[in-house]
Symmetry: C2
Subunit: 409 residues, 2 copies
């Protein structure tokens, strides 16, 4: 028999992220920072808000002036004036007084709460009826209630969502330090691969992987740089890899990683500057013949040629490495997986992680994961799928009704 490569367990592969360093930082306008990984800690330089504000349209009062008020027995208050938006109120509220205030208005001196307009009625310009009592602090936010001056409001290594972009705006941060988007060089190998604008003719197929992998890189926050197709020979692949290695933060080579006659990938990877083969085979299916090397501290992947295998390996393995070199902390974004219920029995071989493509559907009031059968060379199985479930190393399969976690794809 051929001598097999020694496969590495998925968990051990994922621990290798720490071998690689993150990309450089850059400063960008916050409107271009959505989805990026923040590369600085942000400390608030003021209370937010910087003054007590009304959260309702209504009347600013001392709460004690409203105690006991009901529809049948309203409180009568004296109008002390109107708070103008965006201006410091010059009036002040004494017991038994009220001032008209809009949502977002600054609470006048003396007032400790706001009565909603719906629970009031103007008798005339000077008098107001109140039909419901309020507690102190009602319908207002206090100075510093959102964030206090000196508080850490955002920490490095988190992904910026719309709410964090808004938060940066609140503190006047129009520029922000983020990690650069990692450049990922993509190379397709194989004598049977033709560019997609060519007619493949017999025995050949178009270069699918450059496109599916590029879009996966974009989706993960990287910048794909396709280097085209390389024939199955050492010197062509080495030349292309050296070029890509110089210009990229990571390289993905698809094809040429099986135990085949023309597998120069491992030799080429070994020949890159300061290279070390870290993984030669992973105990997952599909995706076993995956190679990971470090070359001058950059990850270089030999991915399977099958379109589905390479995408599954991307989702299960490569994605974590892109996130790591993008500066994202491993603790953030843990909740991508969707719990569901397996729709039927499924068997699995022991000794490897089986990655099963599934379709999600509502079934008897709950979310069901329906396995999609089909070989890992068939792209239609990925097009039909909504996600991937994993059957563990030591499992012979899962029974219908089992709770599973679906990784969306």
């Amino acid at each position: 028999m051929k001598n097999f490569f020694k496969v590495t367990d998925l968990d051990d592969v994922l621990e290798l992220v720490s071998e690689f360093k993150t990309v450089e930082k850059e400063i960008v306008p916050i409107l271009q920072a959505g989805g990026r990984i923040i590369a600085e800690n942000i400390i608030s330089d003021m209370d937010l808000p910087d003054f007590a504000r009304s959260t309702m349209d209504g009347y600013a009062v001392q709460a004690s002036s409203t105690f006991g008020a009901t529809e049948g027995n309203p409180a009568f208050l004296k109008m002390a004036g109107t708070v103008l938006m965006g201006e410091t109120a010059e009036l002040s509220i004494a017991p038994g007084e009220a001032a008209k205030i809009s949502t977002g208005g600054m609470l006048p001196d003396g007032a400790d709460s706001v009565v909603m307009i719906e629970h009031t009625q103007n008798i005339d310009e000077m008098a107001l009826e109140i039909y419901r009592s309020v507690a102190p602090g009602s319908n207002i936010i206090e100075k510093g209630e959102d964030f206090r001056k000196g508080e850490t409001i955002l920490t490095s290594c988190c992904r910026l969502r719309p709410q964090e972009i808004g938060l940066l705006a609140a503190f006047g941060r129009d520029m922000i330090t983020v990690y650069k988007k990692p450049i990922v060089g993509i190379i397709s190998t194989g004598d049977e691969i033709v560019p997609i604008n060519e007619n493949p003719g017999p025995a050949r197929i178009r270069d699918i992987n450059s496109y599916s992998l590029s879009d996966l890189v974009i989706q993960t926050g990287g910048v794909p740089v396709p280097y085209g197709i390389v024939r199955d020979n050492f010197s062509d692949l080495k030349e292309k890899c050296l070029l890509a290695h110089e210009k990229s933060d990571m390289i993905m080579i698809s094809g040429g990683s099986s135990v085949g006659t023309r597998d120069y990938t491992i030799d080429v990877l070994s020949s890159l500057p300061d290279a070390k083969i870290l993984v030669h085979g992973i105990s997952i299916s599909p995706g076993k013949p995956t190679i990971l090397a470090a070359a001058s501290g950059k990850p270089v992947w030999g991915l399977p040629g099958h379109v589905v295998s390479s995408m599954v390996v991307f989702h299960m393995v490569v994605r974590s490495f892109i996130e790591h070199i993008s500066g994202r902390s491993s603790g953030s974004g843990q909740h991508r997986e969707i719990p569901a219920c397996l729709s039927r029995n499924i068997s699995s071989a022991q000794g490897r992680l089986d990655c099963i493509r599934v379709r999600l559907m509502q079934k008897e009031g709950q979310l069901a994961a329906e396995p999609i059968l089909g070989k890992s060379a068939l792209i239609n199985t990925m097009v039909k799928a909504d996600g991937i479930i994993v059957i563990g190393l030591n499992s012979e399969g899962l029974e219908k009704g089992s709770r599973v976690s679906v990784i969306p794809i």
Copy 2:
């Protein structure tokens, strides 16, 4: 009492998407089409693959030549040659013969299956031992097994994921018709709002909404165009709205939609070309004072000024309208919600949908949704949150342990 606006139920608001037409189409390179909505049906113009291929490194055989083979009692086959990658095999396989073949190689005439290299050993150049029998069709994919010529491979109005980009590559489609990204004009109103690079000083706050809403638009596949801050007066707001209306596919105005003294939004919306107010208040909390108008067939929103309210309304309502005008069919992408278990009792007012911000965490082996308390003017509640759960119109609350669906934010 003030005369209240009549609120519309959320479901009724969501049905109004059909009032609006989709944006125009454009043709883009497929590497720029990821995440976009396809605007044509794609019919396959060839079988995929166009020839029977090996899915393994091994030997192409007639399955019957291997029947009964075991480690102890191997089958002996005669080597008929080697299949070169990317070339039509000139050899042909007779019973008792085998040809070396790599993953992706074209199956030679006569062969109906492939034996994995791991289950074979070369005796010499001419002879091969086989240790395991294969069934016809093993380790190959048939011509047309992925897609048949003439089949519809993609239908209009779906979002393109990496696998669909790969599929388009497989069929040589380097350009694709997609819907344009909708242009969304964003206007902030309020005398208390200052640009984010200014020091707000007393009684004023920075313009958070232009930024949080812009990033939400980007996340939803649109192009935000911020028009800055407009003071609370009819003519300024009208002028800005007319400009935005002419240049956008949708407008979002934040602030100025409560029953306040300076609420010109409804008057301005009514004054836009061919305008009709469709919704004046939605039975959700936060977010009740939301206005929706149609002006010359374009949606125009008056969103609440509170930063959290406007984001919640975006997630619960506006997003569906952007997806609709982006050309996305309502049936696609239904599985965004994450099932979880409520971590504690939560009460709710009847007669409105309560949108509760939650944090997701693993708790006793399952995914728990932990409500985040806090007023809808506090952006920290959105920064802490992973998602939103909805408590129904007719519910007084949910008990600890209830199954909930979390809308990721």
